[in-house]
Subunit: 201 residues, 2 copies
DNA sequence: ATGAAACATGAACCACTATTCATATTAATG
DNA sequence: CATTAATATGAATAGTGGTTCATGTTTCAT
């Protein structure tokens, strides 16, 4: 019930505290990403970070809060990676291809963050929803514009946005969770061919 | 270390015990599907089933075991639903369409089972993997055959199988988890158009 | 009826872990 | 130096919930 700022994290900081906070956050990513939210104890996280248990609560209000922070971080980093990947694309279909490649590269490089997002559906549904809604909204708009510009075949941009996110998400899971070895470029080529041309002969 | 049968469930049964077991399983589906695995306590499940706590352990070795059972059940039911949905399909593309419709109908009717599958990645990775692998294998084979028969455009059946599963999975999530109201038929039409024709103008 | 097997009960056990707190330690200011 | 705010510690607290078990109750073949 504070009037001024945010009563949320309660932990702005100063010099070395910043480093400690980061160490804890990184440790949380590793431990939670590896063991899952419930099996990851504060003991595990602080041990991994090399600090005492109590130190955790100087920087985070609760176990749930670190988790939410990790979900938001994943969103930020991924958005950034996708923007970079699609920056030079001339048209929508090229952007689609480079976006998929960027996504698969990103999740392969950040398997822990990827698992955390999937678990967010149960640990922090609000954050999970926000994460996907943000991507879905941008995606739908891009598809709608491309359609208006006559770049792509007309069709429901909303359903398409989710369908395309689904392709990326699942191929990412195949690579990260199941350790599929197919080179990213080969996956991208095959998936993109289907996205562009469909299955029709 | 039993030689004969399976030392697993340890709970074959008889007359009314069958009913009790089913009641517990159904209660577990409701409670776990609604609250998630970790927030669902044995107390909650047995209360929902109308039995005492101890009764649970007559029929299941542990909390994890009911969960695994639910995952397997979901696989069985879904496989059955998909077979029924695609039984009359003349060609692969029609099967694709009816399969998608069948899937979305099924998950809309069984939202709890759907959430349980998603959570299985963390609670019971082995069961989760088995579930998807089974579908992926069948899917890949169907696509490969259609391709050999010249019914569809050539392309990597493995990547395609996962991509198509991803579309279904994510559209299902959109409907079940986010409560999207778009009629299933409209979603199917839009998605299937993209699957068949692609995005190319 | 009666004895045994199956089924059911719920209180108690036990282990685990998120969070708190009183007490150091560090760092930087004046 | 002395003072203080920030940072760090780790033992203690407190609540939870999966699992066990000694004890009933039901069912049914004989």
């Amino acid at each position: 019930m504070e009037a001024t700022a945010s009563p949320k994290t309660a932990n702005p900081k100063t010099p070395r505290g910043e480093a400690t906070r980061r160490a804890i956050l990184k440790a949380a990513e590793t431990v939670i990403g590896t063991q899952g939210f419930n099996d990851a104890s504060i003991i595990d996280i602080t041990r991994e970070a090399g600090v005492a248990q109590g130190t955790f609560y100087i920087y985070f209000k609760s176990k749930d809060e670190v988790f939410s922070e990790l979900v938001r971080e994943m969103g930020r980093l991924l958005r950034q990676a996708l923007n970079a990947a699609t920056a030079g694309a001339r048209d929508r279909l090229t952007a689609e291809k480079e976006g998929l490649r960027g996504f698969l590269s990103f999740v392969s490089a950040h398997p822990n963050l990827y698992r955390i997002i999937q678990e967010a559906l149960f640990v922090d549904p609000g954050a999970y929803r926000a994460y996907f809604q943000t991507f879905a909204d941008g995606y739908r708009q891009a598809l709608a514009e491309a359609q208006d510009a006559g770049e792509i075949r007309p069709g429901d941009p909303d359903v398409r946005a989710w369908a395309l996110m689904g392709i990326a998400k699942t191929l990412g899971e195949r690579a990260v969770v199941w350790g599929d070895e197919t080179p990213i470029d080969a996956v991208v080529e095959a998936a993109h061919d289907m996205i562009v041309n469909g299955l029709r002969r």
